[in-house]
């Protein structure tokens, strides 16, 4: 059944989610670059934003997986997709508020599956696709990234023992500009695709596209720009956690971590696996820290973040299920509109609360564990 207004709302919420995805995941590509001083914070996020845009146009395999391999396309409805997106966005903004680098991808997949379970029950979910393309890669990806980064930093250290410290720092800082750009492209090839896949599902659910259709060009362009815009705004809270929270990064370690992450993400994009770029980037950073003798890694923080990863899929699923239940209870376009207003109010509440303890480009590099220097907050008119 065609419902143009509902479809327009779903596409708008999808683009809003894509924006939060870019905002939330800026840290994956730029945290080591900013932490080691290879680039100024603003310059790093601007560069990342441009390369995310480029990456979004390079591959559509992950979009195809999201659109066809996780839920039964013929059972999907617009309110289900809407509820899933609301659940994912709410989870993304909540974890951003608490500076937790959780997975936007798992939030999105969890949100849609949670709503789908309320609508049609377990048979509407393609469990084989969920296990083989999401859950198993989710468990493996951070470990693979950690191993790749550890071997890379071990080799790099052995190869550069006779290089003086200044040359090494300068060389790897220069290399980090390239590795950060490559990682941003990798992020674009994997994460931008997820929203493209969901919008394609919405178009199929509305009858605008036939089942198993490929992603239309306007969806690719709008999603690419939404994630690039989100990246440009920079999720400074998470950048700080990833750049300084887990361990102290040198330019050599930052370079090794970013290259290892890029290799894992680009390879999985090639295979159409929608893995979490956040898990990969975190695994690499922890890997270079753990492989350097005498370098402390904050394992307690690693454990807390890993716990957040485990609960992301079910928590976003719960958000999605509740959202669908509420929208369904009120009914029709009214239900969706009311839920959109509730979600907007929740996001505004968290944004306003976050201004009590601002982390921005000005104080993102303050030492971990020390009080963050206060930042002048310009007066804003409430949304």
């Amino acid at each position: 059944m065609h419902n143009t207004l509902l479809l327009a709302i779903v596409v708008a919420v999808a683009l809003a989610f894509d924006f939060t995805n870019g905002f939330h995941d800026t840290a994956n590509a730029v945290a080591p670059t900013i932490a080691t001083g290879a680039l100024k914070p603003r310059m790093a996020v601007a560069l990342s934003s441009v390369f995310n845009l480029v990456g979004a146009f390079l591959s559509l395999k992950v979009a195809a997986t999201i659109a066809s391999a996780l839920v039964a396309q013929n059972l999907v409805t617009l309110p289900v997709i809407f509820a899933g997106l609301i659940g994912a966005t709410a989870w993304n903004v909540t974890t951003w508020y608490f500076a937790i680098p959780s997975s936007s991808s798992h939030a999105l997949i969890g949100g849609v599956i949670g709503a789908m379970l309320v609508l049609a029950g377990g048979h509407a979910v393609l469990w084989s696709g969920l296990i083989s393309k999401v859950i198993v890669p989710a468990g493996l990806a951070p470990l693979v990234a950690m191993i790749a980064a550890a071997v890379a930093i071990f080799s790099a250290k052995r190869l550069t023992t006779k290089v003086d410290r200044d040359t090494s720092s300068m060389g790897y800082r220069f290399g980090q500009i390239g590795s950060s750009s490559l990682l941003s492209i990798a992020h674009g090839t994997n994460d931008a695709q997820k929203t493209m896949g969901v919008v394609t599902l919405a178009l199929i659910a509305n009858g605008t596209l036939a089942s198993n259709s490929s992603t239309p060009a306007w969806v690719v362009v709008s999603c690419a720009f939404a994630i690039a815009m989100g990246t440009f705004f920079g999720g400074w809270r998470i950048i700080r956690t990833m750049g300084h929270g887990f361990t102290h990064l040198t330019p050599q370690q930052g370079f090794a971590a970013q290259i290892a992450s890029s290799a894992v993400i680009l390879t999985s994009s090639h295979m159409g696996l929608p893995l979490s770029t956040t898990h990969v980037a975190t695994g690499s950073i922890v890997g270079v820290g753990a492989a350097t003798p005498g370098q402390p890694v904050r394992w307690r923080l690693v454990r807390d973040v890993a716990m957040a990863w485990v609960i992301t899929l079910p928590a976003a699923g719960l958000f999605g299920a509740l959202s669908y239940y509420l929208a369904h209870l009120i009914g029709g376009t009214y239900g969706v509109t009311v839920l959109a207003i509730v979600a907007a109010a929740y996001v505004t509440f968290l944004l306003r609360r976050s201004r009590r303890h601002v982390i921005s480009a000005a104080n993102v590099n303050d030492l971990w564990g020390e009080p963050v220097a206060p930042v002048e907050v310009p007066t804003v008119v409430a949304a």
């Binding site: 296990i131 083989s132 693979v144 790749a148 550069t160 040359t167 090494s168 290799a263 090639h270």
Partner: protein, 79 residues
């Protein structure tokens, strides 16, 4: 048990191997290039060693450029 049956472990194994080799390979190539460049700039070394440093740095730059091109082809060609 369920995951064992559903997952194509051979494919996943290839992904893991390719990712680790590519990541480590690029970092190693860059590090060799940097070390060679450092040799080339060291005026205390012999002329031959410095020339060798330049040659290795140039080769490693070529290796990195090839890796980038290959990665780009991999992503765009089979999408």
């Amino acid at each position: 048990m369920t995951a064992t049956l559903l997952v194509d472990w051979t494919l996943l194994g290839h992904v893991v191997l390719a990712a680790v080799l590519a990541g480590v390979g690029v970092v190693v190539a860059f590090s060799i290039g940097l070390a060679a460049l450092s040799f080339a700039r060291d005026t205390n070394r012999s002329r031959f060693t410095r020339s060798l440093g330049v040659a290795v740095a140039v080769v490693m730059t070529g290796v990195l450029a090839w890796a980038l091109w290959w990665g780009f082809e991999l992503i765009t060609n089979k999408s």
